[in-house]
Every structure is written in structure tokens, then in C-alpha cells.
Symmetry: C2
Subunit: 404 residues, 2 copies
Amino acid sequence: MLVVQKYGGTSVGSIERIKAVARRVVETKRAGHDVVVVVSAMAGETDKLISMAQEISEEPPEREMDLLLSSGERVSAALLAMAINELGYRAMSFTGRQVGIITDTSHTKAKIERVTAERVKDALKEGVIPVVAGFQGISETSDVTTLGRGGSDLTAVAVAAALGADLCEIYTDVEGVFTADPNIVPEAKKLERITYEEMLEMASLGAKVLQTRSVEFAMKYNVPLVVRSSFTDRPGTLVIKEDRDMEKVMVSGVAHDKNQTKITILSVPDRPGIAAKLFRRIADANIVVDMIVQNISSDGRSTDISFTVPKADRDKAVRITEEVASELDAKGVSVDDNIAKVSIVGVGMKTHSGVAAKMFETLAREGINIMMISTSEIKVSCVIDVKYTELAVRVLHEAFGLDR
Amino acid sequence: MLVVQKYGGTSVGSIERIKAVARRVVETKRAGHDVVVVVSAMAGETDKLISMAQEISEEPPEREMDLLLSSGERVSAALLAMAINELGYRAMSFTGRQVGIITDTSHTKAKIERVTAERVKDALKEGVIPVVAGFQGISETSDVTTLGRGGSDLTAVAVAAALGADLCEIYTDVEGVFTADPNIVPEAKKLERITYEEMLEMASLGAKVLQTRSVEFAMKYNVPLVVRSSFTDRPGTLVIKEDRDMEKVMVSGVAHDKNQTKITILSVPDRPGIAAKLFRRIADANIVVDMIVQNISSDGRSTDISFTVPKADRDKAVRITEEVASELDAKGVSVDDNIAKVSIVGVGMKTHSGVAAKMFETLAREGINIMMISTSEIKVSCVIDVKYTELAVRVLHEAFGLDR
């Protein structure tokens, strides 16, 4: 079996932990499998580099940020390769360039265009354990790029897809995917299996176990994923294609996300092309808009558009919205940082009716006002006041029987 | 004028210092010059990385060491490029690979084979200030290599040569090259000018202002060098080709080096090829031998060979010597770590006789025993007991009138 193992920042957070990871890698090799390892930067390193950059500049050039940030994963890849060699197994580090992770030129958020993995394949043929520096690639113009926060997950999945690996294991500091955040709901249960679609909704809804793009990539190339802890030997959660058994469960989990800001553009003329103009400009700035709601206002001639963006992009998004608002003679822009998104997710929803209604009733019973609603085939999300987040998660977890 | 400026680890040792370097670079640009900057890792970073590697392995694979160590210069190059941009000037970082510093595959001590500098030339044409990560290159097999301790000096000189720069300024934490170490001889004077040959002897003799290979490279390509401090505006020392005035001074400086170990192979048969065998094996291990002395022993049939190597290579060199000793039926190997080398250097020696004799007399007067002697056209070196180092430097400095 060919296994790609990805170890996150806390798993390689110290020399002792790097040695422990080396032992785990060697065990897998000893069990007769081929292993490719992908590593993040040591915990804290990336934040340290970011804060140095911020001491120098409020908006440092993104090309320079990428060279800066990519160094952390190179350090941990080299150290882990050394630690595996020290255990008597041959290992070799590979940078994003050496792996052939070719990306576009969107620095700090680059998209993978293709993965050649030639040198990794050669190393495997020679019995060498390749240790890949995660999070980074190289652009067509030969500049170092990075794949955005959590990008090492994407590296692992992309390498697994390029190699046709049998399994991609994501080692992290949690034991798997839970029905809700165990810090909020002590009764939350670890899921044995979950579909790509559910995981995708969970991830994009703020259950920060896996980076969204890595799940999309895994789904597209049908790479079986396992999320598990590097600190225990427990089995983790398997992320795979939907199978029939999974539909029996109506809701798989409750996710929440406090990391969004709600922006509203007030009283714009209600005519075609308004929304297009706004969201094109926001997309051009590389900002991912999450929920969008448009209401007709009382006079029937103008409309309010509300949407949410990640807090990290808040200032940029507000600036763009204000520009567009003044071009459109809108009444103004309002911003609400004190919001949270609470969501229920499950492939079972497709075949069960009344799921959304039950969610709204449950929240209403607790006096929680819903500001925005958004639905998909397998999830319902509500934006609420941030102060009710924990309460909402707990009552929904109970209402959908997830604690049983 | 096109100037290459190299800033060492202490010059970029903190965010504040990086900002100060940015201001100095911008001043040079404002004065109408084109500038290319080469940076070392922030002070302490390389040592931190080395100690992490040593926690993992006593002899980590050198290819992995290179990936590990090269990250420090990438960080400082990115940060300095940000700091220059912040001052309103365009700057771009370039890694060893992006500069096109192609080396052989001798990891941790790679030799530069050629420098293309295409992207640096393009950047200059567009008015951009290139910031080059020092110390690193890329091998023909596309692996990251490093140029050995002090390798950023070599990067600067090699880039200056490739660009045909008018001047290469080496910014460090000392004000220039002195007639002796001012910590030992308070009367030591800063030299205004010095020849490449003298600088070469000074550097290889332990005056650690410039890395030896960088001076050789500068001499070969006739790159004018200036050694100066980044903390003052004082002029520094110019390192250039010999001119007539320089010959008037007999001795330019007194250098010392405590960083060598003396190894002796005892009573090997005195027949041709013995020395060749030993030093070929040592050279193959990439160890640079400094002084070599061979004596006929009393019986006239066997000989002792003594030589000195850098302390960093001591254990490797001793191991090889012991292997060779047993193959040759030598009596044994003795090792002396408590030695120092004291040297006088000056192009003027060529035309003055009695310089060596005066040195030996001066040392003898102080009761300092000489263990090994080695001479060249422009220097005389003596290996002595390490405890006499400071005394020897002081009396030689005075004897040759350097304090006047």
C-alpha cells in the first residue's frame, strides 16, 4: 500500500515530536507500506514570521511573504528527513519546487495547476522515504508560492492524487471529525466515516479539521482521507465517497464559525447587474464570499445586499464595498463583526424533509434570532448573534440526536 | 556606478537593524547608484538551526543540512525586500536558484561553477533593487547547496563579478581590516588599503573579516572590495590589486588563528608516496589542510608528518589519519588541540630580507617556542602554544612598527 502521511504544526512542534513522527513513519514502512510524508512548519513558526513581516510593513508584497513563509516547512522537512535517517531508514527532503507542485502566480493563495512528483516517484523506487515540505509550490515564473493557510493538507492530497496513493492520512492534534466541537458539546461523538461533501461543508463552515480546498481536491481525484491524531493510535475519521449506509443518518454534525464578518450595502437601486458588479470586484481581490442574501426593501425600488467574508479579508472587503456603494449611489455600508454561523450538515438531509424547519424551531425556542439563512442539499446555515453560538450548537446537537 | 552591498548576520540581526539596512540601501540608490544587496541569515539563526539538527543526529545528511541552513538567508532576504518597499523603493528577493548560482554537489561546502544572474540583471533594468539570499546555490541535480561558513561574502563577490559591478561593499560589525585584533592590541590601526594577496593571507590566517574563498574570487575577477561597518559611516578598508605605494610597508598586519588542531602521524617509513596517500584521503573528505611539516626522525629511516586542520574537521581528520597510520604501520597518531598560529603578512616582504628572522627573534626573546613554521612570498606563520597567542601578537605588532 502507498500511504501519504501529513503531519501538522503541533505534530512537529518540537525536536522530540519530530522524533516521534519519525518513529511513526518508520513503523508504517516496517509494516510493509511505501510512505510519503508531508510536513507543516513547526507550530508557532509561521506566526512568528508573519509578525516579523508586520513589524516591517502593514501590507508586505505578497511575493516576499511567500518566500518568507515557505521557509518554515523547509526547516521541518529537513529535520524530519534527518530524524528518519537517524533511525536507519533512508529519507530525503523535497521542496515544493522539487516535488513539481506547479501553481498559478496568486501569491499567498496560489492554486495548484499540476503536480509532476517525478523526484518523489524516483525516491520511492529506490526505497527512500520522501519528506515533502508542505504549503508551497512554484509558479510558472519560477517564484516560490504558498497555498494559503492549511495549505499543507492540500499538498498531501495533491501528492497522493499524483502518485495514485491508496490512502492519505492527515495527522493533527484532534482525533478526528466530531459531531460538534467537543469544547462546546462534551457529548460530541467522533464520526467513523463522513463523505467528502459533508467534510467540505464542515470545513467551510468552520470545523477547522481539514482545509476546504484539500477536501475538494480529494473528492475530485477520489483520494481516501483519514483524519487522526499523531498523539494516539486511535483510528480517526475516514473521509470517503458517499455510501448507502450513510443516508440513514439525517444530520452528521453541527458546525460553527465565528470567523466571519457581515457586510451590508444599504438601499441600492433594485436593477439587474448590481450584485454582479459588487461580487466581481470582491472576487478580483481574491476574497471568498461565503453567504449572500438580498432583500427587497419596503419601498420596492431599492434593495439591501448582505454577505459574509472571512475576518482576515474584512478591511479589504469593506473598502471595496464602500467604493461600489458610492458609485451606485447606495445609502451606505454597514458592518457587523459580532456574528457567527451555525450549520447542520448531513448527506441524509437529501432524503429527509423538515430538517431546516426543525433547525429554525430549535433556535426560535431559545430566543435566538436568525439574521441570514443559506441552504444546500446537505446543509443548512444560519447567521446569528455571536453571543448565542455555544447555546445554538448545544441545542442543535441535542435536537438532532447526535449525542445518542 | 553599480554597487553590490553585502550585509552580515549582525547587520540584519533584528527588525530594527533590517530597517536601518533598508535606509542605507535606499541612500545609495538615491545617490544615483544601482544597488544589489546580498544578505546573511539574522544573527543566531544559523546556529539555532545547527543545534536543532544536532539534537536529532550527530552527523545529519549534508544534503538535508543544506536545505535546513539555506532557510535563514531566505527569511532575511524577504524581510529586507519588504523593508525597502516600505520606504517607497521597489525591491525583490532572489534565492540562490533564482540568481542562478550554480554549484557542484559538495553539500555544505559547495563550489560555485557559474553565476547567470539573469533575473538580477532584468530587475536592475526595471529599476528594482534585487535582494539576494546569500550563502546558497543550486546544484546541477537541482538540490539546494550552501557555500560554507561565511558563504554570503562569496555570494556577494560572485554576483559582483557576474554583473561587472564597480564595487562590492562587505558590511560587517567591524570597521575594516586592522593591523592586528584590536581586542588584543589596543594600538592596532585600521588599514586604508590592502592587497587581495594580503587579505587572503589575513583571512586564511584567522583574521575573520572576510571569507577566504570570497577574496580569491574577488582577486580572480578583479572585483574591488570594501570592508566596512554597517553601524557607522566611516570609510572601511579597500581591498584591491597591489600598487607601488604598498610595497613601502614591510609588514601590513599580524594575524592569529586559534581554530586549528595539529595532528602528527608518527614514524611512518620514509619513502615516496606516503604524504600523497595521507593528504589525498584527507582532501577526498573535503578537509582543507593548512600547514604541513615533515621531519626526518633520528634513525633516518622513518619520518613524522605534522599538519593542521580546522577544529571543525578535527574528528574526521583524526579518524582518517588513524586509518592511514595503521595501513602504513606507523607508530601512532598524536593530536594537539592547544595550538595557535601567529602570522605576519605584507606584500612589502617580497623586497625586504630578514623579516622571518626578525619574527623568530622576537618570539624567542619572549621564550615562545615555535612548533611549526610555514612561509610564503608575503607571510610567515608560526604555530605556537595557544597560551602565548596574545603575547606573541602584541610583541610582533610592536616589533614591526605597526603601532606607529
